[in-house]
């Protein structure tokens, strides 16, 4: 794999190490930083996140990273809460998010099923999804969440738990995955590899 400057935004959240280790297993050493200039100069950016949307947005504001993250031109991947932060708004704390993907985060309506939605579930691509290349049409990924992005035009993969919801979203160069590729075995590793191999053509759509 070509050597590239991969930055993981240091949101001081709990799954940051596992995301870093997952890339290291692929032979890429990411830089973990909250420095706006370093993030803006990266070839690719990962926005990890667990916890609540409200606390995470407050944290990004405190780090003065909101504008930087909104103006990135390189491929960006938000993971779990990181994906939800890319949307316009989250019902978790009724908070405005980064607004780089036109979508909304709402409480998952799972009916009688236990919440959080926790465990391995199947993900199906919708349309052209460059991050799900080279894997089974129905791939298994590990989820842990109670809020989810509602299915809409930005949805590029869906999952079903009581209701259909967006497992992956995308707008231009911004991508989001609700599940945890860093903890999703071979399928997760393939997705991260696909992210590292995204071409300019992939991010223009």
């Amino acid at each position: 794999m070509t050597q590239q400057n991969l930055v993981i935004v240091d949101t001081a959240c709990a799954n940051l190490s596992s995301v870093r280790f997952a890339f290291e297993r692929l032979g890429v050493i990411p830089e973990v930083t909250a420095d706006a200039a370093r993030i803006a100069a990266a070839d690719r950016v990962i926005l990890p996140g667990v916890g609540t949307a409200q606390a995470a947005m407050r944290n990004l504001q405190r780090l003065e990273l909101v504008e930087t993250l909104q103006n990135l031109q390189q491929p960006v991947l938000g993971i779990c809460l990181g994906m939800q932060l890319l949307t316009d708004w989250s019902a978790e704390g009724e908070v405005n998010c980064l607004g780089v993907i036109p979508a909304k985060t709402v409480r998952l309506q799972a009916g009688e099923l236990p919440l959080p939605h926790m465990g391995w579930n199947t993900v199906t691509a919708i349309g052209d999804n460059p991050l799900l290349r080279n894997m089974d049409a129905e791939a298994w990924f590990y989820f842990v969440h109670s809020f989810a992005v509602a299915k809409d035009d930005s949805t590029i993969a869906q999952c079903d738990y009581g209701q259909e919801f967006a497992a992956m979203i995308r707008h231009k160069n911004y991508f989001g995955a609700q599940f945890h590729p860093e903890r999703s075995g071979n399928a997760g590793a393939q997705l991260l590899k696909n992210f590292l191999e995204l071409t300019d053509a992939d991010t223009r759509a």
């Binding site: 709990a14 190490s17 596992s18 280790f21 997952a22 667990v50 236990p114």
Partner: protein, 258 residues
Amino acid sequence: MLAKRIIPCLDVRNGEVVKGVQFRNHEVIGAIEPLAERYAQAGADELVFYDITASSDARVVDKSWVERIARLIDIPFTVAGGISSIAHAQEILAMGADKISINSPALRDPNLINTLVEEFGQQCIVIGIDSFYNAETNAYEVYQFTGDETRTQKTAWQTRDWLREVIARGAGEIVLNCMNQDGVRKGYDIDQLKMLRADCPVPLIASGGAGSIEHFEQVFEQADVDGALAASVFHKGMIEIKALKQSLQRAGIAIRPV
């Protein structure tokens, strides 16, 4: 469809994997990393590491193995044992654990659950409950300090009440260790799990009693748990995870194929 989870549990003491019978008489099974890696490759959906000495020793033992595991495996894992403060929890999560499981410290200070949930989010706070069926009183009783038989003691809590309490305080998942069944391989405590399932709106993991493939099938079909945890049947090679998952799949249970 969300898959039922198969969860090998590794009891850790002094950096080695051990296993006792009914929570006592621990024997050494082997080193942590090779076992963890073997299970991840074999198709385990998740791993749990219980540092069984920590709570009863009132100290947090060397947890550097947590980071070694996080680097090595690509499935989620939970660390349990002696985590009794925000700082402990922060340390374990920062090393790469996906979830932390709290048992005795939550009984000592139930408010710890709220604090941890607020700080790290519900998704990574698991509550372990050691439940003992008292045949004389026909009641399920919660025990603490089960890692050390000389200190194991009954609490004032009945299991159902404690379950409701921890859920009200924000627990994200429950592991119910049925102590009467632990290590004797006669099957999970279906009656108890079925009863508590009705009171458990968060994921419920069955623990204690797995001895055969049929036991897993029964606990998923009859008690509708989200995951089944087991130790000795995996450590001793009595059940291969691949064969287990194939059988469960044939039985029509939602399983992530190996």
